[in-house]
Symmetry: C2
Subunit: 233 residues, 2 copies
DNA sequence: ACAATATTCCAATATTCTTTATAATATTTG
DNA sequence: CAAATATTATAAAGAATATTGGAATATTGT
């Protein structure tokens, strides 16, 4: 086995141990960029939409200089890119693979870390949840047969960019005042920004409290698309 | 951290900021566990097979106490588990999602980080590569029609645990001495432990040097299985 | 050109992580 | 029960990261 790691490279190239170590260092650099709660928060926000630094500061509640430093780390790891727009600098996700990696990270964390597992069990399991590709495919069939009503709880802009087929936009803030627009004859499925989205929790609780038969789709629109299911844009 | 466990449930005032922060801290803890070259090396080794600490020390070349400390970090992040076996303590991957996350991390790194991209371009592109699910499916069809010969370059034990359909075992160390067993009438596809495996590079170069029409499958057996393709066990 | 704005850069401090040597623990062997 | 073995735990030094306030930079608007 150790032979494999000490093979000479082709005609005077770097020895393979050095290549291997350089690879691991690179992978670690990317992992390191993910290894801070604020940076994960930033990536989460940027997954919804691109944002100028100011917005990110406001959303995360961290110091301006601190957010700027974190963004630098993310930029140097190639996870985000920035462009100037007037006096603003607008950040966005650099590659489609980034949200996908973060999704894997979150999913694994919910399995591997007892503290997260407990958190999910206590806060996300007081209602019926639709999760996994199989369940999503079944849901799609139900949607197409008009057997249920799909409610998108995200802000209007995100809804407009892409949403589930036949979904109707009820941003969480408006939901309480617009319940009369939601018919009571069909079961309701609400979704928001993904399996850990807290807005989705509140929306489902609100609907359940108002007597609806409500479930939560524990997938983001991105997850839905990655599962190969259709979106409306 | 114990604060996290005392958040009032949905009945009380829901301090969703605290839940959110607790989630991000958990995710960051898992990411942090990945954020060191030695730990990524350890996870890579454990993905091939479970190992006692001694073996891991030997393979990584790090100090014993250092490896032990890294293993502790991985254990506390829920990524590996350990069991005692006599006087040895044997480590293994704790969840099937772990190799999958690492695969995503590596893949993204190869896209996002210029230094890795360069490394891959200079060291892994002197021969034809088969990568991606589509190409793998085509390869499977070719294998099933006996249009090519598949060579597994990993150690015997790993071959025996699982390998591609019709693959033949030629551990890299033996390959040079056993070339006469490989017919020259068909193109050869060699694979080893994944897209960054250095042994696979050596094997393909050796075959090319011996006049074979050789390509490299840039997937691990695990990747192959995750793509939904069949394995022989 | 000057003031206002948005962001990055810098330097100092505090914090966390890594390594190393050494001590402690648990298991097997004699 | 003592010695040998494999591993973990501890403590101290050194390295890397994170935070903060303030200075520097680049752009826009007057």
């Amino acid at each position: 086995m150790s032979d494999l790691l000490h093979i000479p490279g082709p005609r005077g190239a770097a020895p393979s141990v050095e290549i291997r170590d350089a690879l691991f260092e690179g992978f670690a650099k990317v992992a390191q960029a993910l290894a801070h709660p604020t940076r994960l928060h930033l990536l989460g926000l940027l997954d919804y939409a691109e944002h100028p630094v100011e917005k990110l500061v406001e959303q995360t509640g961290a110091q301006f200089a601190s957010v700027s430093a974190h963004l630098k780390v993310l930029r140097e790891a190639g996870l985000v890119r920035s462009r100037r727009e007037g006096r603003r600098i607008v950040y966005s996700i650099a590659h489609a693979e980034v949200p996908s990696l973060i999704h894997s990270l979150r999913q694994l964390s919910a399995i591997a870390l007892p503290e997260i597992r407990l958190l999910v069990e206590t806060h996300y399991r007081d209602h019926e949840v639709i999760e996994g590709v199989d369940a999503a495919e079944k849901l799609l069939a139900q949607i197409q047969r008009s057997r249920c009503l799909v409610i998108d709880l995200r802000p209007h802009e995100e809804f407009q960019r892409a949403h589930l087929p036949r979904a109707r936009s009820f941003p969480l803030q408006e939901l309480g005042d617009r319940l009369h627009e939601i018919p009571r004859d069909k079961p309701v499925v609400a979704y928001c920004r993904g399996p850990f989205c807290l807005a989705a929790l509140r929306g489902v609780r609100l609907l359940l409290g108002a007597g609806y038969q409500a479930r939560r789709l524990a997938m983001s629109v991105g997850d839905w698309a990655r599962a190969g299911l259709p979106l409306k844009t």
